[in-house]
């Protein structure tokens, strides 16, 4: 299998007429793990949602290609079937649809008609991944995210990741709301995916997650774009200093952030 590539060039995204992402560029290849960190409200989730094709976000400029194809031309489901995955910061709850039915439908959507996954094979795979993520068996028959705790939802996102085996995954604050044991388990799940055919963009606020999932590159996002890139040591520096030091160094005024918080 070829090494997948997600290439984002000078992306601009607006929501309700307000520009949030302002010239974001990044290339993610199979085998690489990138981390994006940044203060609240800088547009990290907006970036992730826009890449997945969330209906509320409007792309106002730039280009994104996925394995050479124009990603922005594709419908949400086409993006997913092409191999893109987004673990959402706030996953939806879908009543009456069991986790297992949902996962099987999603897997089969990718495999295509006539090539459906045999039921036994599906159950085996599901069992295996649920064990690895320490998810109780009953969750297979619970309704999708309905009544799940914050941490359970996050784990369920990773379960979907492991079941669907995408080429490129974006994990939006997959560590928020997780206790320390759950964090390790989720990291184990992501690490199990590591291969030259899998690339990953991790959005996080905490360096802690990056202790368990070692990133190749760390990017700091402020005011809608990457303002600094480096190795894992950049995350450590942010953990120690917060964003102020970096802002000073880069001469960034944070009036915009203040304005948003006001």
């Amino acid at each position: 299998m070829a090494q997948p590539t997600l290439k984002i060039e000078d992306l601009h995204v607006s929501i309700e007429g307000k520009e949030i992402v302002k010239g974001f560029s990044l290339e993610i290849k199979g085998g690489e793990i990138h981390a994006v960190m940044g203060p609240n409200g800088t547009g990290k989730s907006t970036l992730a949602s826009a890449l997945m094709g969330h209906p509320k976000y409007e792309i106002t400029g730039g280009k994104v290609t996925f394995d050479g194809q124009d990603l922005l031309e594709m419908e949400v489901d086409e993006r997913a079937r092409a191999g893109l995955f987004l673990a959402m910061q706030y996953p939806s709850e879908i009543s009456g649809v069991t986790n297992a039915d949902f996962l099987r439908t999603a897997i089969n959507a990718r495999r295509g008609e006539g090539n459906e996954i045999p039921v036994m094979q599906f159950i085996k795979k599901l069992d295996e991944k649920m064990k690895l993520l320490d998810i109780d068996e009953e969750f297979a028959n619970r309704y999708l995210n309905e009544g799940f705790s914050g941490g359970e939802k996050k784990r369920n996102e990773i379960l979907q990741l492991m079941m669907l085996e995408p080429k490129i995954a974006i994990l939006d604050e997959i560590d928020s709301g997780l206790d320390i044991d759950a964090l390790k388990i989720v990291a184990k799940g992501v690490n199990a995916m590591r291969s030259p055919e899998f690339g990953c963009l991790i959005i996080t606020h905490y360096q802690r997650l990056l202790n368990y999932i070692k990133p190749d590159k760390v990017h700091v996002m402020m005011q809608g774009r990457i303002v600094k890139s480096g190795g894992p040591e950049l995350a450590e520096r942010l953990e120690a200093e917060g964003y102020d030091g970096l802002k000073k160094e880069l001469g960034i005024e944070d009036d915009e952030v203040v304005e948003q918080e006001a």
Binding site: V76, D77, S92, I94, L144
Partner: protein, 436 residues
């Protein structure tokens, strides 16, 4: 052209002949005749917000040919699949075009005194018992033209009686199967769970002819004795040319429990009333009903729960999907009478609109005549949440399939509650067929 409600084609002498051909007791014949006179006079029901003028309630064939079935294996596949595979198959009635076609009841239940037979047989063999419950505490013969018409012309029915203290684990199932293009199913179902008994009953209505003018006029009476439990599952599946009036009524005694799980999947115009009366103290009802409107279908669902006893509890969940140009009205009425203190009545109605041309209307009504109670209602009419669609699609599921999943999920509260796998599967399939 809006047809007038036509005069009835039947007179007292026809009724007498019909009744005697079935060997009915005199009181029953008498009731038919009285009802016929009432049917001429009484007005049609007046459902809130649905015009039923012009609906065909009277043009149908009253006497149909019916055939006994020796072996279930001789049945068409679509019926065969409905029937519970193992233990339930032991307790089954098949009513074909109004007459008993197949019957089985396990020796165990027979020896416990359970009666599970068609109304015609029950009238002959257990006339007095039928009399005690027929149009007695639950349904009223003179409620309107259609209830009277039902009593005058009843040509099909079921009588299920569970004696005191008999608890039955396995479900009992009835399949009402119509396959005449002009069938008139005038049906009366009686389910009685005497004190301290418990029962699970599942009924399927199925018509398989599509070209004609058919009528289904159905009255169901459910009696739940003191401390008794009835789990009542139903899937209605009449074809497009069947006009349906279905009136399910119940009476719940002290500490009795009644659970409804209804899949109302007709393709034709439907007027449905479901009524639960919590008479004794401590009675509980849990009512779930789901429906789909499609094509040009007009439907009206009135779901009503009255609390009379103290400490009574009710929970009503009504979910309806509207497709194409369908129009449905959902009226939910929870009434807590004076004296029904410490009662709790909750109702939720949700209508999911899948097309621009469809119309749906959910009217929640709470009538409270007592201070010391809890009551609540929720009602909504809306479309699929685009964020839900986005979430499902972000996993590779097409828009169409994502919508389908959401609809199945929306109707799942009833599907998951039906106790017979075959019936569950069939309901799932019907839903699938309508949403495709």
């Amino acid at each position: 052209m809006a047809t007038e409600t036509k005069g009835l084609h039947y007179d007292a002498s026809y009724i007498e002949k019909f009744s005697s051909s079935r060997g009915e007791p005199a009181w029953f014949t008498e009731m038919r005749k009285q009802a016929l006179a009432l049917a001429e006079e009484l007005p049609l029901p007046q459902p809130e917000k649905t015009r039923i003028i012009g609906w065909n309630f009277t043009e149908f064939e009253h006497e149909l040919e019916s055939k006994a079935v020796d072996s279930l294996n001789d049945l068409p596949e679509y019926i065969h699949r409905l029937i519970g595979k193992e233990e339930q198959a032991g307790n089954l009635l098949l009513i074909h075009n109004g007459r008993l076609a197949y019957q089985s009841l396990s020796d165990d239940l027979k020896s416990k005194g359970v009666i599970f037979t068609d109304l015609e047989t029950a009238l002959r063999e257990h006339g007095d018992l039928v009399k005690k419950y027929y149009f007695a505490k639950a349904a009223k013969l003179d409620a309107n033209k259609l209830t009277a018409l039902n009593a005058a012309l009843v040509n099909s029915g079921l009588f299920l009686y569970v004696p005191k203290n008999v608890e039955i684990e396995v479900p009992l199932q009835t399949v009402f199967w119509q396959d005449h293009p002009d069938a008139g199913l005038i049906n009366h179902v009686i389910v009685v769970a005497d004190d301290n008994s418990s029962i699970t009953y599942v009924e399927n209505y199925l018509s398989t002819e599509h070209e004609g003018s058919q009528v289904a006029n159905i009255i169901t009476e459910v009696y739940v004795g003191d401390n008794a439990t009835v789990r009542f599952g139903g899937v209605d599946q009449f074809t497009k040319d069947v006009t349906t009036y279905i009136n399910r009524r119940s009476y719940v005694g002290a500490n009795g429990r009644l659970e409804w799980a209804l899949g109302q999947m007709n393709d034709g115009n439907t007027l449905s009333e479901t009524f639960t009366s919590l008479v004794g103290d401590g009675g509980v009802t849990d009512m779930k009903a789901v429906s789909i409107g499609h094509g040009e279908q007009r439907q009206n669902f009135e779901n009503r729960i009255h609390h009379f006893g103290r400490n009574t509890e009710s929970d009503m969940l009504i979910h309806g999907v509207q497709l194409d140009k369908a129009q449905s009205i959902f009226n939910a009425i929870t009434k807590i009478e004076h004296g029904a203190s410490k009662s709790d009545g909750e109702q939720t109605q949700r209508v999911l609109m899948l097309s621009e041309g469809a119309r749906g209307d959910a009217n929640p009504i709470l009538l409270i005549d007592e201070n010391d109670v809890i009551a609540g209602h929720a009602a909504s009419v809306g479309r699929i949440d685009p964020i839900h669609l986005y979430y499902l699609m972000s996993r590779g599921i097409s828009r169409k399939d994502a919508e389908r999943l959401i609809v199945h999920g929306f109707l799942n509260p009833v599907v998951s509650q039906l106790p017979i796998e075959g019936v569950k599967d069939q309901l799932t399939e019907v839903i699938e067929g309508k949403v495709k």
